[in-house]
Symmetry: C2
Subunit: 296 residues, 2 copies
């Protein structure tokens, strides 16, 4: 993928921590999406993504609008299917089933949070795996883990896309993932393992987190606690991928990594915002295109 961002130097340590931005990478992916969407359009197919929403949550609404806006710019139609914050689990399931059966829809995302009593994992099983562009269906995850073709959760896929974009070697390297969510931590660990990294998964019950994170050549942090990772948690020369996105009082986003603290110590760090986020959105569209191409 072409980019204007420089790759990190070959040496292991650096005095300046490289900013491993995702904006250029995302732009490149979206350019591919646009051109594929134009081709599909000639064949009479409009690639179409549907986002099922059952919440009044503000940051969720912000995220969904940003997907819809980006989709529109890339030639992907995006429907926001709002079943309301008072929807039952069955309402959500029905929406997912209808979209799964609708041949004009190529990608389906189930947005969180969900109403009380609605279980994400359980509901995501109603998403047709062929349209499961955010890898939410347990079948997609199982296929991914088994090495079979499946869409990976877009955020986990974005972590790998960034590492590849900056040519970070993974085979035989020590990768530590902090956070074991089904949507990021676990699938990111699976993808890193598939790339022959030695992978450690840490979480809230991990005692002496720094003991593990300091072993990392590549550290992936997906917890949602700003400032969790400080200088004492990393080894000089590490590559740090910050997946955290906690809304700040000022209306911005904060990652999990204390940027100032690790600066000059890490070889590279993804910024928040402008790191994993834009790549995630671009990959959701990319997955939708792949699904549409199979149906064209």
């Amino acid at each position: 993928m072409t980019t204007t961002e420089p790759p990190p130097p070959a040496g292991s340590a650096s005095e300046t921590t490289l900013r491993l931005g995702g904006v250029e990478l995302a732009r490149g992916i979206r350019a591919q999406v646009s051109s594929a969407a134009a081709e599909l359009s000639l064949a009479g197919v409009t690639p179409r993504l549907a986002v099922v929403v059952a919440t009044d949550d503000e940051s969720s609404a912000w995220y969904v609008r940003s997907i819809a806006k980006t989709a529109a710019k890339s030639g992907v139609s995006c429907d926001i299917v709002d079943v309301g914050a008072d929807a039952t689990a069955q309402d959500v399931r029905t929406a997912l089933e209808e979209l799964s059966n609708d041949t004009s829809v190529h990608g389906i995302i189930l947005q969180t949070p969900l109403p009380a009593g609605a279980d994400f994992e359980d509901l995501a099983a109603s998403i047709d795996p062929a349209k499961d562009v955010d890898g939410a269906n347990p079948l997609s995850r199982g296929r991914l883990g088994a090495g079979l073709p499946a869409f990976a959760p877009a955020t986990a896929a974005a972590v790998l896309a960034l590492l590849d974009h900056y040519e970070v070697p993974l085979a035989g390297r020590t990768c530590v993932v902090v956070g074991r969510s089904n949507v990021v931590g676990k699938p990111a660990a699976q993808l890193l393992l598939r790339r022959d990294a030695t992978v450690t998964i840490c979480h809230r019950y991990t005692e002496d987190l720094a003991r593990y994170t300091r072993t990392a050549d590549v550290l992936v942090v997906a917890v949602g606690r700003p400032g969790l990772i400080t200088a004492q948690h990393i080894t000089e020369g590490a590559i740090v991928i910050d997946v955290g996105t906690t809304p700040t009082a000022e209306g911005g986003l904060a990652g999990d990594v204390d940027e100032t603290g690790v600066s000059g110590l890490a070889r590279g760090l993804t910024p928040v915002p402008g790191g994993v986020g834009p790549v995630t959105t671009a990959l959701l569209l990319h997955h939708t295109i792949r699904s549409a191409q199979r149906h064209a």
Copy 2:
């Protein structure tokens, strides 16, 4: 579960390495199976396990016979469905589909090795998840990973059953799994993670294996290379679960751990044979009973 085997002492190190045998635990599980099978029988249901075989492999045949023999003794009917070593992938799939549709069958195992051109993961997707007593269907694995109810692969479940039997604490402990197979390493790592252990997965591309294994409070080895784990790979006081079963020239089985080497250093070690193996077979039957109970 009652047992005549002593639990390990509370201290971290010991001069004698405890033998963490699985025979008594397996006996206890089989006793539960027998009594549940007798109850089902009164309700007119014979719990029935089917093993699909498509190989002439000797050690596979030995394993299947041992399952069938153990099943018979526990009141579980066991059919060996031999489709022949020259079967096509489609032949295997057809057999799995027929058994999935057969309401008198409660458990289905697909035995390996498979003929050339037949992919285990792909075929296992044809096993009804409700009857997938060895957790082979990618959907079962995905559900397991997502924390949804599913049968775990029996060997991985046996690792956890042994750790629980010997009251080895897992939450917050460092567990290292060597081997990343879909049938043992990966699901064992998932189950340990679910139990709040900090988990590292090592494999053939791991550089300096001992660097990782020496951090382990609990070391699970599932590679199939006798003598892989020696004294230099473990820390005093570690609990070592040996999943390796390599046939020896003398007609026996060898684990992955150099028993003599780690003796006196590890706090506990599962023997091979007589450790994970018998528990695995007992759990396959236990899973079959659970499936039959749902159908009764």
